[in-house]
Subunit: 241 residues, 2 copies
Amino acid sequence: MRNGPRYGVQICDRCGECPWRNDSFFCQFDPVTLKAFDDITFVDAYPEGALLFAEGELPRGLYIVCYGSAKLTISSGGGKKLITRRVAAGETLGLTNVMSGKPYKATAETSSPSQLKFIKREDFLRFSGEYRDVSFNIARQLIEECDSDANQIRALGLANSAAERLAYLLLSWCDESGVASKSGMRVYVSMTQEEISQTIGTSRETVSRILKSFKDKKIITVRRSSMTVHRRHELEDLILL
Amino acid sequence: MRNGPRYGVQICDRCGECPWRNDSFFCQFDPVTLKAFDDITFVDAYPEGALLFAEGELPRGLYIVCYGSAKLTISSGGGKKLITRRVAAGETLGLTNVMSGKPYKATAETSSPSQLKFIKREDFLRFSGEYRDVSFNIARQLIEECDSDANQIRALGLANSAAERLAYLLLSWCDESGVASKSGMRVYVSMTQEEISQTIGTSRETVSRILKSFKDKKIITVRRSSMTVHRRHELEDLILL
DNA sequence: GTGCGTTTGTGACATTGGTCACACGGCCTT
DNA sequence: AAGGCCGTGTGACCAATGTCACAAACGCAC
């Protein structure tokens, strides 16, 4: 830690000393690789909502989320917007484009105050050729991206209704971050209904109405920003995916 | 060529002698790699509609299309079916699953009489670690898959109508395989309306109606299995993607 | 040609869900 | 307390499209 906090984030520019280091992808280099890695990266902190790159731009380099989170969105000429992925600490932003050199197909912005590492494209390409565990981690992340894309294609293409997609989203929250309580599974909801609608590809009003119908059927209860799923199986029954 | 034709396909089991070898991915190994590669692969011919693997199965090995074509589909409990990808000669089937060991998320079947190579998973994993150009080609193919998935997410999630998705599909046909003629761009249509509907995630009837509306507006004409796009820009105007 | 299976065309109808319009409530700042 | 902003709840309305039910056209085998 060299600097004071910025946007509430304590900056740390050497992976070896990183207090948030976890078991995902790019945190997992061995000490030698990590040292070389640190030498070619730039660290910076960003406030919530900072634009990292935009659809159509050419990739200048690779971002890695050290702390915080980001989201990728795509948008249509008609103003419609879809959130295609949420990126957590330890994951990369725009890896495929850095590898291929093709323009970004999505826009990336932080969704909370975050610290990111940045590596210039040419440095990263050279680096990835020199170290074995780097190419391995690249492949891992690429596979992970394919996997998550496949899930989204399934949800968008196969669901018969917005209710089905929403039920699917709620269940994924339960599985990823749900806490068992006596009356069901409690999850912290960090998205507004607007964001939820952009995640499942529907309108904000529809999300509001469907959530109401879930509440009416006593499937869920909502208090402040936490939601409790009482009858998981009723959500599962909705889903034919 | 060792064997007589099967399902109308002339079998060839050594890449070095392959008459269909092209410039995509796995055809591009250098001679040394190619030789080692031939030693661990099995070649076979399949009729149209042959099932190669199904959703939920564990990957036994990697398929590579030498000749012919295949498609990947996903389907819901409700009987709905979506074609997620068409796989042409030189491309692989199920690479991500072979790499990760996770169950297939899609079903693969040939969409014309085809010759495929098969490599057992453990052989492929060993092979991919030993030869440099193999890992390179794997990364290339993974990136290609992410790219195609991203396009599909955009088409499914951002389009406002079935007409928009269909227009998008027709334009992609023009770009990929269109032949300029005096009255417009001519493309050979190899899909039935049923398959088209499964590609763009709508019903067969809707495809029929939208095509009719395009014909009525003189945007396209259809004769037998070839279609001519007369007014490309009118299709483009439909698309807000 | 004849016949059969597949593919395509079309009408009628019900439902979903997008859009517009506006009210309400919470929270923050002044 | 007042005002404003943001997120949410809700009614009314309508266009898009899924579904069912046939009919017509096409392609292929005999």
